[in-house]
């Protein structure tokens, strides 16, 4: 299995024919697994696991000393955003009376072997994150949580675009993923992040998010 799961970030293949964008979206959205999430807390725990993963990725990435200048600055800011997301979601889960899932054990493999592999992994995480939020949005019932999740989703899209840009990818299918974002169901997202979850913590978290 490669370090990045490109099968989930197909680039231009994900772009949607213009005139039918909304129709297609509606159809695919309805095709999501109805059992993906039972309530807002489940969505939040799922999001928290992804944000834990992203936050830890950027902590390690930014400590690796592979970037400089604007790239280093951007990844510092992105890492700070992910930590803010962790704190916000963690706090919300607690306020809803649940116990937030702890950070999973992670192993990013050779992600920090080079600038290129670092940016490549970050690019994949961000685009999977964007699609994960969109795939889960329809399961949120509390409008305040929906507002916050949408607001986080948009920022993940900003991250994804900038990572596509600074790594020199083509505009369409690299920086942008078509005229509309594409939702991913929970199973696909978990399959994408599975290679990075390790150890007892990872297994426990996986159980927590898939139960």
């Amino acid at each position: 299995m490669g370090l990045t799961r490109r099968t989930l970030v197909k680039g231009a293949a994900l772009s949607i024919p213009a005139a039918t964008a909304l129709n297609l979206l509606g159809t695919r959205f309805a095709g999501a697994q109805a059992s993906d999430f039972a309530n807002d807390v489940e969505v939040l725990q799922y999001a928290l696991t992804l944000e834990h993963l992203e936050a830890e990725f950027y902590r390690q990435a930014n400590a690796a000393g592979l970037l400089s200048g604007k790239e280093a600055d951007y990844l510092q800011r992105i890492g700070a955003d992910e930590e803010a997301h962790v704190v916000a979601i963690w706090t919300t889960v607690e306020q809803l009376g649940a116990v937030p899932v702890p950070p999973p054990g992670v192993d990013f493999g050779q992600a920090f072997a080079s600038r290129e592999s670092l940016l490549d992994s970050a690019f994949t995480f961000e685009n999977v994150g964007v699609s994960a939020y969109l795939g889960a949005a329809g399961f949120i019932s509390d409008p305040a949580i929906l507002q916050a999740a949408a607001g986080i989703f948009g920022v993940e899209a900003r991250h994804a675009a900038i990572l596509g840009s600074i790594s020199g990818r083509q505009a369409e299918g690299g920086v942008y993923m078509g005229a509309t974002e594409t939702p991913l169901p929970r199973a696909d997202v978990l399959a994408a992040v599975q290679p990075f979850l390790t150890g007892a913590g990872g297994a426990a978290d996986e159980a927590a998010v898939t139960s």
Binding site: I16, F29, A84, P103, L134, I145, I152, R158, E172
Partner: protein, 217 residues
């Protein structure tokens, strides 16, 4: 361990629960019933009459509001690209944005029609002198429009009643966020102004947009 005990400065600087209490109760009940959870989601699709029945007058209003903003963006980028003031990587990055805005106009127009509404008419737009004469003015205005568009969509998230329309609006909003980040980068701005997208009300957005609509002021 990223856990911190401090309350994050999010949601307008207020803790989540305080923010939540500001949500209008009627809106809460309406949205909770319609956005629903899995069962509701699976039951609705564009082919399902129940989904169409969900489109309220207010959803059509929101769609036409979004359409007006997309008209503005589509027109703006069309003129900017015709003016041929960009080149190289900048042109490569901005070209698809024009395509996206045009696609958004088409999709919103089709959706409004399918829901039995009447798409808003294309306004006549006007821009400050020099907007399309040099790169800086064009990209600076583009950045303003994109940030405005992002906050406009996010300002309607809790007002949209249909699950399908919510999904579609979010899917468009995410792309506007990508545009906003790229234009901030191209113009020396901050691609990541906050950890959560900001919102603007319809009144605030229209007040900003009407400067570009002929005869609106």
């Amino acid at each position: 361990m990223p856990r911190r005990r401090q309350v994050p400065e999010l949601f307008g600087g207020q803790p989540v629960i305080a923010f939540r209490q500001e949500i209008d109760r009627r809106r809460f009940l309406t949205a909770a019933a319609i956005v629903g959870v899995g069962g509701t989601l699976a039951a609705t699709s564009w082919r399902d009459p129940r989904a169409l029945a969900q489109a309220s007058m207010s959803d059509l209003d929101i769609l036409n509001y979004a359409l007006t903003l997309e008209y503005l963006e589509a027109d703006f980028y069309r003129q900017g690209l015709e003016a041929a003031i960009l080149e190289g990587r900048e042109l490569e990055l901005v070209g698809p944005i024009a395509d996206h805005e045009r696609a958004h106009v088409e999709a919103l127009t089709d959706t409004i029609t399918q829901l039995g509404g009447t798409p808003a008419e294309l306004p006549r737009f006007t821009y400050p002198d020099g907007t399309f004469e040099e790169r800086d003015a064009f990209l600076s205005t583009a950045s303003t429009f994109e940030e405005l568009g992002v906050t406009a969509y996010h300002g309607q998230i809790t007002a949209i009643e249909s699950t399908d329309l919510l999904a579609a609006a979010a899917a468009i909003a995410g792309v506007e966020s990508r545009h906003a980040a790229i234009l901030a980068d191209l113009t020396g701005g901050n691609p990541f102004p906050a950890p959560v997208e900001a919102t603007r009300t319809m009144d605030e957005v229209l007040a900003a947009a009407q400067d570009f609509i002929e005869g609106s002021r």
